[in-house]
């Protein structure tokens, strides 16, 4: 582990360092560019802190091992990219249904399929939301710097533990693969799952307003059954309409009711905006450079940067759409979050798209030019 202080490190290394500090003691994964440095760093560092690193035979086994480890009491994580993320979807759905805390990192590369395997993208943002089958609510964080690879990995674990849910860190190949400054604090805030307080506690039901049940662990003497099929509060299967509706409603509501706590975004120069650039992850960096340049030239431009993709900040986008004349969505795909912004802005302002595919990041000048054109 790196010492507290200033370091020049790779984004993926910062992610692994954050995970270990958050208390992660189990990692299972399968090699894939551009996520490999996370696995590599975990394989070296986890054994030193009493943790376990497993290289599995594929991504389906990886997510399954992570879920098993979580039920044995470990904070557990895996890291992958596009094709591997697809394979993990069934396991992620199982994690939602069984309310298993875990962290899945997707360092996004350019697809479809093996596409431009070594080049970055932000193409999996909808897969994060809709990739797994069934009714559930997703928590997905998105870092724009090496520092946030560290900070948001810690937050991902804290949210997973607090809400007993899988949390996705939707990084991209740019941020995973750049080296830049990381400041590691002496101490970080850590949240641990609520463990069962008594033998009578129900592992899949609660009266608590948070709707998050206490979590028993295998090996502690509980008579515990964990199933992806619809179950009663006790864990026993009951696929009746009543219990299915109760269960799905609760696992959705525990996230929906906490939306204001989970949802996280940052605004820059939004006091009097005519043009608002909306972006996330790596593309928010040149977006910020472009907005600063526009401000220097006297243009009323601002930046709204998402740090959580899901839950989506509908209300904030609506407010921006009411205040601004035009919104420009900058992203490294063919235009995805664009549709969310169009939906949330409800026609209150014009929504423009500045997509980019091909494994290349926007430059400051490209975005600046789009701001200028929108301004005229």
């Amino acid at each position: 582990m790196l010492k507290a202080g200033k370091h020049l490190v790779l984004g993926n290394v910062a992610c692994a360092e954050g995970a270990i500090r958050a208390g992660c003691r189990f990692f299972a994964g399968y090699p894939i560019t551009p996520a490999n440095e996370i696995s590599h760093h975990m394989s070296i560092e986890l054994p030193k802190v009493g943790g376990f690193y497993l290289q599995m035979e594929d991504e389906i086994a990886s997510i399954s091992a992570v879920l098993g480890a979580s039920w044995a009491g470990a904070k557990a994580m895996t890291a992958t990219s596009g094709p591997g993320f697809s394979l993990m979807q069934e396991g992620i759905s199982y994690a939602h249904m069984t309310e298993t805390p875990c962290v899945v990192v997707d360092v996004q590369r350019s697809g479809p399929s093996t596409g431009q395997a070594t080049m970055p993208s932000q193409m999996d943002v909808y897969q994060a939301k809709y990739g797994a089958h069934g009714d559930y609510e997703v928590v997905a964080l998105v870092p724009w710097s090496v520092q946030e690879m560290f900070d948001l990995t810690i937050r991902a674990f804290n949210l997973a533990e607090k809400f007993r849910t899988p949390v996705l860190l939707m990084a991209d190949g740019v941020i995973g693969h750049i080296m830049e400054k990381l400041v590691i604090p002496e101490q970080v805030e850590i949240v641990d799952r609520r463990r069962c307080s008594s033998r009578e506690a129900m592992p899949f039901g609660t009266d608590d307003p948070s709707r998050v049940p206490e979590m028993p662990l295998f090996g502690e003497g509980y008579r515990l059954i964990v199933t992806g099929s619809t179950h009663r509060e006790s864990g026993f299967r009951d696929e009746s309409p009543k219990y299915h509706a109760m269960l799905v409603k609760r696992i959705r509501e525990k996230i929906l009711k906490a939306e204001s706590e989970i949802s996280d975004s940052v605004g820059y120069y939004l006091e009097d905006p005519k043009i608002v650039v909306i972006s996330y992850g790596a593309t928010a960096r040149p977006s910020f450079g472009a907005v600063k340049k526009a401000r220097k030239g006297g243009l009323e431009a601002g930046l709204f940067r998402l740090r959580t993709l899901w839950p989506f900040p509908d209300r904030e986008i609506r407010r921006l759409a009411e205040a601004a004349e035009k919104l420009i969505v900058v992203e490294m795909n063919s235009g995805k979050i664009l549709r969310e912004v169009e939906r949330a802005s409800r026609g209150c302002s014009e929504v423009l798209s500045l997509p980019k595919i091909g494994g290349v990041l926007h430059s400051v000048d490209e975005i600046y030019k789009a701001i200028m054109e929108a301004y005229q």
Binding site: L8, T118, M119, V174, I178, M179, K181, P286
Partner: protein, 177 residues
């Protein structure tokens, strides 16, 4: 102030480690640094490159669309990246490549400096330190770092048995331009 530097060559020439040494040295000097190691199929024996952006304020452009410094250690690397040089850019090119360059390889709007890096490294006893000769020449030309800072980084990142020859290579590069 901002320098956008592409270090390019053939896999095995120490291109990525040169990028790491240079970035770490700038970082220790207090500059903002963003470094990208690009690898694809070319990581296996083809051309390799490291991109280092160094600035005295926060960096927003994370990729180098136009470079103002290019180190070219091999012919394929030179031909791949010369087109990405900004007008007036500093190009440090391996001296042994010059005889292979044809008229259409040259650009008149850049500042080209030939570096006898291979010859110097061989004279020092190991051709592998040609990358450090280039770094020595680079820091002399752009003037952001003194050689002691780079030597301090070499001591941090390289195992003791190889420190001396790498430090000599930095000094040799610093004095030949």
């Amino acid at each position: 102030m901002e320098f956008r530097i592409i270090i390019s060559g053939t896999g095995g020439q120490g291109v990525l480690s040169a990028g790491e040494f240079l970035s770490e040295a700038f970082f220790r000097e207090g500059y903002e640094v963003v470094t990208t190691r690009s690898y694809g199929a070319e990581a296996r024996g083809g051309s390799a490159r490291s991109e280092v952006i160094v600035a005295d304020e926060e960096i927003y452009d994370l990729e180098i669309h136009e470079a103002n410094v290019i180190i070219a250690m091999s012919m394929p690397a030179y031909r791949s990246f010369i087109g990405r040089a900004r007008k007036g850019a500093l190009i440090l090119v391996e001296k042994q490549l010059l005889s292979e360059l044809t008229d259409k390889d040259f650009r008149k709007d850049v500042y080209m400096v030939e570096i006898p890096a291979n010859e110097t490294a061989v004279a020092l006893g190991n051709p592998i330190v040609a990358n450090m000769v280039f770094l020595g020449a680079l820091i002399r030309k752009i003037g952001l770092l003194n050689p002691e800072k780079l030597e301090e980084t070499v001591k941090k990142l390289i195992r003791p048995a190889l420190q001396e020859i790498n430090i000599k290579a930095v000094r040799a590069g610093y004095s030949i331009v």
